[in-house]
Symmetry: D2
Subunit: 306 residues, 4 copies
C-alpha cells in the first residue's frame, strides 16, 4: 500500500503514520516528493488494515498495489485451469457450448430441447429448476421436479447438466442431480452459497454480478476455491450501464483481462448480456474471438443460426 | 403493455400479434400510426407474458406501462408507513437516527459506542455481528457472541438494535436478539432471505443493491410485504457509477421518487454512499433535506459533528 | 407517443389531455385499461411536443415509440453505405484498417510509421495534428505542420489520411490536407463542428461520446447527413462505466445494433476502448466478429501482432 | 507517480525502468516489496510522461499520486472564490438564485418570466438564446434576437443575465449582451470555447459533462483560469448512470468534494439533474444542504414552491 499524505502534512503527522504502519507489522519507506510525502507500506497483509490507515491524521488517501485475490491468480498458478465434467470441457483450447431453455417447464419441452441442442453441437444442457425472480409474482421454477427432468435428459442425450442453485440449503439437492452448479449474478456475493458450493465440490459456473468489478468477481471465486473446490468457471453476462439499447452492456474486454490475471476459464452469456435475440449471434462470435472458453445459449438462438 | 410493430410489419404479422395478445387473456387495441402500428394489450397480467410477445414476428419492442409492484405502491396505500420498534420510529415526520460501529468487535467497544451515540441523539444502535465480506480472508464477524453484546447494549441504553442478517438460515437466531433485521445491498435479491425475513415479522431495513433500479428495490420489498410483514424500511446507500471520487454515487433523488411511488419510509446511509468521512456531514444534511426518514451513521461521524 | 395517465386521473384530466394532443395536430386514441388510461398520440411530429405533454394535469409519463433520427435510419435507406476515399473502403464487406500514431510528432516518426503500417496491411493512415487534451498543460499538436507531414506521408505511401478536427473554424484547413475528418468523442455533440463537417463534404469518422446513447450518436450523424454529406462512418470507442480494469468499457453490441438500425458503417477503436495494449488484439478480433467494418489501431499494436 | 512492476519482473527490467524515470528528469526511488517492486518517480512533471512509462518492459501499471489541476486547486488558493456580477453573487456564504426559461421564445414570455422570478427571489435571469439540440430538427434558439430580449429584461428588472454560448466564434456576440457565459455539459471539453471564454474575461458558469470525472471538470475550469479569467462557477447537473427513474443521476457528493479540493463555487441544476418537476424542490433543498453556492431553476419550478 501507498499512504499518500496531504500537501500540508506536518512532520509529526508523517512520523505518526510511519509509526502506525510499523505497528501493523509492515515495513515503512517514506518518499519525500516535490509536493507531497508518500509512505510505502511493505508486507503481506494486503488490504486488511487499509481503512485504519485512511483515517490517520494528514492522510489524503491510501492506494493499493497488490491484487486482493490469491488462489484465483495466474501469478500463483500459471497454467490455465480446464474444467471437465461428462460431456463438457471448458478452458485452454476447449470450448464449452452450454445450451437449453431458460427455465425447465415440462419434460416434453426439456427433452425436445436437449435433443435439438445436442444435434446443434451443444456439449452441455442448461435449464433452470430454481429461478431467482425479480418479482414475487413470477413463476419460481419446478424445483426438484425440474431437476429430475434434467437428469432424465442427461440420461438420454449424454449431455452434462448445468443448473442454477439459489440458496446454500439447496446445494445438496441440486448437486444430487446436476453436473455443474450455476451461481447466478444476483448471488455472486451470497457468501454462504459460495462456501456451500465450494464445500460440495462439483464444478461451479459463477456469473458476474451486474455491477461487480473484476476484483470482486475473482474474490467471489476465491471463496469457492478457498473452500477446496478448484473447478470454477467464471461467466461474463454483462454489466449495468446507462445504455438502454441492450438489457446489459456486454463488455468483452473482461475476457482477455481475466485470462491475464487468472487461470480460471471464462464463459460468456450473450443472451443475458444483450437481451435481444437478433444481437446474440454476432456477440457469441465476438466472445469466442475475445478468447471465451465457452458460451451459454438459449435453444432458439442456437437453432436459428444453423 | 404496448406492442410496437416494426415499420414494415405485414397485415398478417399484425393480426397474428393481436390474436396472441388475446390468447393471453388480454384485450387488444391496435393503433395504426403514421409510421408504425402499435397494439395496446389491456389487462391485469402485468409483465408476465412480456417476453413471449417480444419474440413475435414483426415485433420491434414491448413497452411496459404499469409498475410491477403492488403492495409497496402508494397507489394501493396512500398513507405513509411508519415503522416503530422500541426507541426507533421511522416514517412520516419521524426521523430515525441509527448509529453505531460498522462491526461489533468487543463488549467494551460496543458499550462505549452505544452510550456515546445515545448521548449524541441516536434513536437506534446498529452494529454488524454477521459481516458479508468481499474477501474470504477478512474478518466475518463475532456472530452470536456479537448479537449478545448488542442485546446487552440495548438493555443498558434502551436503544433498539439494528443488525444485519446474511442468510435465511440465520433469521431465527438474529431475530432472537435484534429489533430490526438489516438486509444488505449484496443480498437485496437473495429471495430466500427476503422470504424468511418476511415470514419472521420483525421490522426489516432493506438496502438498495448498488446497481438496483427503483423497480427492483420495490419488488424486493414486495417479497417481504407479500410474506406478511408490513414493516419495511428502504435504504439508499449509493449506486455504482463511473465516479471514483466517492466509493458509491449517492443519488438522493431516489428519496423523493420513492416517496411519490411508495408508502414505505426511506433511510439514507451517507457513509457507505460516499466512503469518505469528510463528505458525510453535508450528505447527511442533504439526505434529510431530500426527505429521508432516517440516517445510518458510524459512531465517529456522529460524534465529530457535535 | 403514448401519454400514460396517473392511476387516479379524472375524466376531466383525460379529456383535457385528449384535447391537448389534438391541438398539437396529432390524432388521439384513448385506451381505457384495467388500472390506467393511456392516450396514443398519432402523427409525424415525433418528440417535438413531448415535454409540453409531460407537464399536463394527471399525466404520469410520456413514452416515445418512434426513433428520432431519419436519414441515418436503415428504414429509410435499406442498403448499407460504403464510404470510399483513396485507399480506404469501409462498409458492407469492406474492412478499413486505419492505423498510425496517436499524435504526429515529427516527419521521421510519421513517415516511418506510415511505411510500417502500410506494410502491415493498413488501408489508411491516422495521426493527430490537432489534439484535444484534458489538461491545458499537455501538448496540443503540431497543427498545420502536422497536417503537412500527413499529406507528405500520403504522397509517399498512397494511404488515405484520417485526422481529427476539433473546431468548426479549422474545418477548411484540415480538409485541405485530410481525406477523412475525424470528429472525436468529446466533440460528438459540438453541433457547429458537425454542421461544418457536413457542409465541407469530405468523409467523416464520427466517434461516439463516452456517455452517448445510440440515439444520440445517430442524431449527431444526422446533423452531418442533414447538411448534405452522406459519407459518415460511426466509431465505437467505449463508454464510461463503473469498470476500472479498462479505461473505457468497449460494449461491442453497439456494432450489430447500429447495423440493424442504420445503414452507416461502424468502425471500432479497441485502443481507446480498453486503454491497455495487451487487451487490444483480442478486442480487435472481437470487433470484426461483431461485424465492424473497420478498426483504428496504434502503430505498435498493429506491429506486435505480426 | 508510482510505477508498479509485474510480480516476476527481472532485475534488468527494474533497472531499465529506474533509468527511464531518471531520463525523464524525475528522481527515482525503488521499493522492494514482499511480492513486487514498485518505483516512486518524484518530480514536478505530473502525468506528462505516464503513458511512456506504462509501456515499459515488466511494468504492470502506473499510479498517479498528484491531482492534475493546479490553479483550480484549494491547495494553491485556500480562500473560497466569490463570483460577483450585477445582482448575482455566488460563493462563500453568497447563494445565487439563477432562474428563467429554458429557452427565450419571445419578449413577452421572457419579460413576464423575469418579473416573476425576480419577485420570487431570483438574483439572476437565465434563458437560452443559442440552444444545443440533440436533434437537428429541433428549434435552435432565437440567437441574437434572444440576447437582445435578455438584455432588455435586465434593463427592466436589474437581474444579471446568464446565457449559454455554444461556440468560440459566438463568444464576442454573447459577451456583448450577457453578464455570465454559460458553457453547457456537451461543451465541457470544447477546449476552443473554454479558451475563448477564458480570454473574454466575463464570469463563466461551467457545467459538468454527464460522464466527466471531478478531475476532468476541474481541468476544464483550469483552461479558463489559465487563460486569465478567475471568475469560474462550476455546475453540477447530474451524471449518466444506469438509473432510469430520473433523466440524470444527481450525485450531490460532488458539492462537498469540490469544496474540499477547489476554491471555485459550485452551483447545482436540479431540473436537468432529475428531469422531473416533482423531484426538483426536494433536490434543490438537498443541494443547498450539501453546500451549493447557487441553484439554477426553471420559472415554473420556482413559482410552484411559493
Amino acid at each position: 500500500m501507498i499512504v499518500v499524505m496531504k500537501r500540508g502534512a506536518t512532520r509529526e503527522e508523517i512520523e505518526h503514520m510511519i509509526q502506525r504502519v510499523e505497528e501493523l507489522g509492515l515495513k515503512s519507506q517514506p518518499i519525500y516528493g516535490t509536493e507531497r510525502t508518500v509512505i510505502a507500506a511493505i508486507g503481506e497483509k494486503r488490504d486488511e488494515y487499509r481503512h485504519s490507515l485512511e483515517s490517520g491524521p494528514g492522510v489524503s488517501e491510501v492506494v493499493s498495489i497488490l491484487a486482493p485475490y490469491k488462489v484465483a491468480s495466474r501469478e500463483v498458478k500459471p497454467e490455465s485451469t480446464v474444467v471437465r465434467v461428462g460431456s463438457l470441457a471448458v478452458g485452454n483450447s476447449h470450448i464449452g457450448m452450454i445450451a437449453g431453455p431458460c427455465s425447465v417447464e415440462s419434460e416434453e419441452q426439456t427433452m425436445a430441447t436437449a435433443r435439438a441442442v445436442k444435434a446443434a453441437g451443444a456439449t452441455a444442457l442448461r435449464g433452470g429448476a430454481f429461478k431467482p425472480r425479480t418479482s414475487p409474482y413470477s413463476f419460481q421454477g419446478l424445483k426438484e421436479d425440474g431437476l429430475k427432468i434434467l437428469a432424465a435428459a442427461r440420461q438420454e442425450t449424454g449431455l452434462a447438466v448445468v443448473t442454477e442453485v439459489i440458496a446454500a440449503a439447496d446445494v445438496p439437492l441440486v448437486a444430487k442431480y446436476a453436473d455443474v452448479l450455476q451461481i447466478g449474478a444476483r448471488n455472486m456475493q451470497n457468501y454462504r452459497l459460495l462456501d456451500a458450493a465450494g464445500e460440495e465440490g462439483k464444478p461451479v459456473l459463477l456469473k458476474r454480478g451486474p455491477s461487480a468489478t473484476m476484483d470482486e468477481l475473482l474474490l467471489a471465486a476465491e471463496y469457492i476455491l478457498n473452500a477446496g473446490n478448484p473447478n470454477v468457471m467464471l461467466c461474463e453476462r454483462g454489466i449495468r450501464t446507462f445504455e438502454t439499447h441492450t438489457r446489459f452492456s456486454l463488455t468483452l474486454a473482461s475476457v482477455p483481462y481475466l485470462h491475464e490475471r487468472s487461470h480460471l476459464p471464462v464463459v460468456v452469456d450473450p443472451s443475458h448480456g444483450t437481451g435481444h435475440a437478433s444481437l446474440v449471434p454476432r456477440m457469441a462470435a465476438a466472445a469466442i474471438a475475445a478468447g471465451a472458453a465457452g458460451l451459454i445459449r438459449s435453444r432458439s438462438e442456437m437453432l436459428t443460426e444453423l
